[in-house]
């Protein structure tokens, strides 16, 4: 009765798989995480991509990313992927800016510059 072949089942398609106890911890979201959340909302509202694109890029990141990156780390990776695909900015521009950001200082507070 049950389908014994798992060929083609993707890692994120988790329903029914064995798993242990549910870790019940919660954390309050840091400002940078809320910024990521806001960027997603805005990018989608402006039509650059949809939540489907967000999910697709998250899925394509693979299981390792799920295990080693936090939720919003994966989200900013996916948003960036989608925005590059949408032509919002180029890799060249992103490279330059990420270098500049790192040069501002070693903490988030310093690196965010004017922040606002």
């Amino acid at each position: 009765m049950s389908d014994t072949t798992e060929q083609g089942r993707r890692w994120h398609d988790m329903g029914g798989k064995d798993a242990g106890e549910i870790a019940r911890g919660e954390h309050d979201f840091a400002l940078w995480e809320k910024r990521v959340d806001a960027l997603l909302h805005i990018a989608v509202a402006k039509g650059y991509f949809t939540v489907d694109g967000l999910r697709r890029a998250l899925e394509d990141m693979g299981e390792d990313a799920f295990e080693t990156m936090t939720y919003y780390e994966r989200w900013i990776a996916s948003i960036t992927q989608n925005m590059v695909e949408a032509g919002a900015f180029t890799i060249e521009e992103l490279n330059a800016r990420m270098d500049e950001v790192a040069a501002r200082g070693p903490t988030y507070g310093e690196a965010q510059g004017a922040g606002e």
Binding site: M14, A30, W32, F66
Partner: protein, 216 residues
């Protein structure tokens, strides 16, 4: 704070959950934070958005908390006609109460003496964010996503909820565009309570379906 001479968005005081906000400004910059800053600045420079719009969206999301959902539940408990409208079209009913769905397609499922509902998203972490705020970390875990559709009673047991054998557990996997809110059963002994008192016993976990309202 180092940047007081700018009009600077920063968290004030305590977060809605009663914890102090994380002091991320002092933490070592991570690769992904570096990316967030760079992407945000590029989008502002290219005129795709503004700092003000980003801050406004953060504030908008901060304002969405389980208290909104609790208010909807409390109203449904006291007003059968509203409850019927809520079950027929959750988003329209939200709007009646002045809560902007902003694209949320809300479906409300009702707990009864016979049926207990619980919501999950096995494929990612879909959640009625525009009503309840951001989902808790546990909702996004592998264990919750994997096990809730297969052994809901064991999962509910971990949350401290035991159900009678003759109650049917109804699991909702949010696979498409709809988002689900559980309308808990109104506890006995709450007759005559006002909306505020009713809302106070409706927790986020009750509206996900891993808990039921507790009498104070």
């Amino acid at each position: 704070m180092p940047h007081d001479h700018h009009d600077h968005f920063h968290h004030e005081g305590m977060s809605p959950s009663g914890h102090p906000f994380q002091p991320d400004n002092d933490h070592p910059l991570t690769y992904w934070q570096r990316m967030e800053i760079a992407v945000r600045e590029l989008l502002v420079e290219k005129g795709i958005t503004t700092a003000a719009a980003i801050n406004a969206q953060i504030e908008k999301m901060d304002a969405r908390t389980p208290a909104l959902g609790a208010a909807v539940v409390a109203r449904a408990w006291g007003d059968p006609a509203f409850k019927a409208r809520l079950l027929a079209d959750g988003s329209a009913a939200m709007e009646e109460m002045g809560i902007d769905p902003d694209g949320l397609k809300l479906v409300v499922v009702e707990n009864t003496d016979e049926v207990h509902n619980v919501v999950v998203c096995t494929l990612c972490s879909c959640y009625p964010r525009n009503l309840l705020g951001l989902p808790p970390d546990w909702y996004k875990t592998r264990a919750y996503r994997s096990r809730t559709v297969r052994e809901p009673r064991a999962v509910l047991g971990e949350f401290g909820l035991e159900l009678a054998e003759d109650v049917r557990v109804q699991v909702h996997d949010s696979t498409a565009d709809m988002r689900y809110l559980v309308l808990p059963r109104r506890p006995d002994g709450t007759e005559g309570w006002d909306a505020e008192a009713l809302a106070a016993i409706v927790t986020r976990d009750c509206m996900i379906g891993v808990a039921v309202p507790q009498m104070p």
